[in-house]
């Protein structure tokens, strides 16, 4: 719902930082308007109407007033506070990692309902402890896909021939893999990707191309999950041009 002065939308709380003495600058990921920075006035006061609503990872319904420079929060009602995630350090570290990825990959005020739904599903999976590791990988691939930076996993990036079933070296700088015939010794940023991981990524890519819903219909063993996590972390850091700050804590508690 939009008027000239206010708008109402569903949102997830991605980040917050101090703004003056008692205000907070909240990074909201809204369903309708994308990522929006919003000032929550007096949110640091114990009797503030916003203090519990603006906690990290909360799913909220917000009413936002348009400002000259920054918008401000008028109302904030909690839809889901994901207490299950917040009462477990391992789950919390994963939720915050997903949240930080969105902060880094999504531009301000650019609506992206697919990524919003993907993050919401990821948080629901964490809350229900439903295939946690697979959900994390699924979310990261969704984010990469809907940010327009999904690499090529099926064919050689140079000659377009199908890649053989074997371990390969992935090059983030070219967004794919060179087959054995096209290997370029000048490329230096290669990352080894195991045959099983590549098989899974090809499966996902085919699903995307055929516009099918690509929920996990494959069982992935623990080693492949570990390799996929390692690969995705390297690729996401390369694409975002920075290391995610929350990875240190993620590794510490998992």
């Amino acid at each position: 719902m939009v008027s000239n002065k206010t708008y109402v939308t569903e949102a997830l709380i991605l980040n917050h930082r101090d703004f003056g003495e008692t205000d907070l600058l909240i990074t909201l990921f809204t369903k309708l308007f994308g990522k929006v920075p919003v000032v929550a006035r007096r949110a640091k006061m114990p009797n503030s109407k916003f203090s519990s609503g603006v906690q990290l990872l909360n799913r909220v319904q917000v009413s936002i007033g348009r400002g000259r420079n920054l918008d401000h929060m008028n109302e904030c009602e909690i839809v889901d506070s994901f207490q299950g995630i917040k009462s477990d350090l391992a789950l919390l570290s994963k939720g915050l990692f997903s949240s930080e990825l969105v902060v880094n990959f999504i531009q301000d005020r650019t609506p992206n309902i697919q990524v919003f739904n993907a993050l919401l599903k990821n948080l629901n999976d964490l809350e229900m402890q439903n295939n946690i590791e697979q959900s994390m990988i699924w979310f990261q691939l969704q984010l990469i896909n809907f940010s327009g930076v999904l690499p090529e996993f099926i064919v050689c990036i140079n000659c377009n021939e199908n890649l053989q079933r074997m371990d390969h070296i992935f090059f983030p700088s070219i967004g794919g893999i060179n087959c054995a015939n096209c290997s370029d010794i000048n490329l230096k940023d290669g990352v080894v990707i195991l045959e099983e991981s590549l098989g899974f990524l090809r499966h996902i890519q085919r699903m995307i191309r055929s516009s099918k819903s690509y929920l996990f219909d494959k069982n992935i063993d623990e080693n492949t999950l570990k390799d996929l996590n390692r690969f995705l972390r390297i690729y996401l850091s390369y694409t975002a041009e920075r290391q995610m700050k929350s990875t240190k804590f993620l590794d510490l508690v998992n």
């Binding site: 003056g20 506070s81 917040k86 990692f97 902060v103 700050k245």
Partner: protein, 201 residues
């Protein structure tokens, strides 16, 4: 920022006031001109007290509270309960608890909270120092009085997980409704906590 009409010295004073938390350009200007009008003696006292605070203040080597004597008055007071440590995030939290007058034990100031999204982990806080204290002192109870936000609760959870095997009693301050608050205006998270933590009267 440009404040037309101010001399370079006055402008410098305005800029310095402007660095303080909660002080905007207008307030900085007002404070600077107020100071100029003040008698010289009061201005000198203010300047001296700022300098003396900066020169004499250190962190207590035991609890890491801000103090002018090491150890601080709270740590060296033998009348306080020596078997309880209250862990707080900031020196201001300690002062707020002291003002309440309801706690008579020892403190430990962490100087922050775990905030993964801002890259602040346990190594950036005084958590190692807390464990060193628990090893060397005879402590029966640790009160984890961190803030009630995600970062504060994550910090409390992290310390609680590490302390679980030590046999030390770990407690947190009660969560729930604020004194003088109407029930109908409390949000669902606060009410939920209050109902979970209900007690007999």
């Amino acid at each position: 920022m440009d404040y037309s009409g101010a001399t370079p010295q006055v402008q410098r004073l305005i800029d310095e006031f402007g660095r303080l938390p909660g002080i905007g350009p207008k307030s900085a200007q007002r404070l600077a001109y107020y100071l100029i009008k003040m008698p010289e003696e009061i201005s000198l006292n203010l300047a001296e007290s700022i300098l003396s605070v900066k020169n004499s203040i250190v962190l207590c080597s035991i609890c890491f509270h801000i103090t002018d004597t090491d150890p601080c008055n709270l740590c060296s007071n033998s009348y306080r309960d020596q078997t309880t440590i209250c862990v707080v995030q900031q020196p201001l939290d300690l002062i707020a608890l002291e003002k309440s007058g309801s706690y008579k034990g020892k403190y430990h100031v962490l100087h922050g909270a775990i905030s993964p999204i801002n890259g602040i982990g346990p190594d950036n806080l005084k958590i190692k120092e807390l464990f060193l204290r628990l090893k060397n002192e005879d402590i029966d109870e640790v009160i984890l009085a961190t803030n009630l936000d995600v970062e504060g609760e994550a910090t409390a959870m992290y310390i609680n997980n590490l302390l679980a095997s030590t046999g030390i009693k770990i407690t947190i301050p009660a969560r729930g409704l604020s004194v003088g608050g109407d029930l109908q205006y409390a949000d669902e998270a606060t009410l939920g906590r209050a109902i979970q933590g209900r007690q007999g009267i």
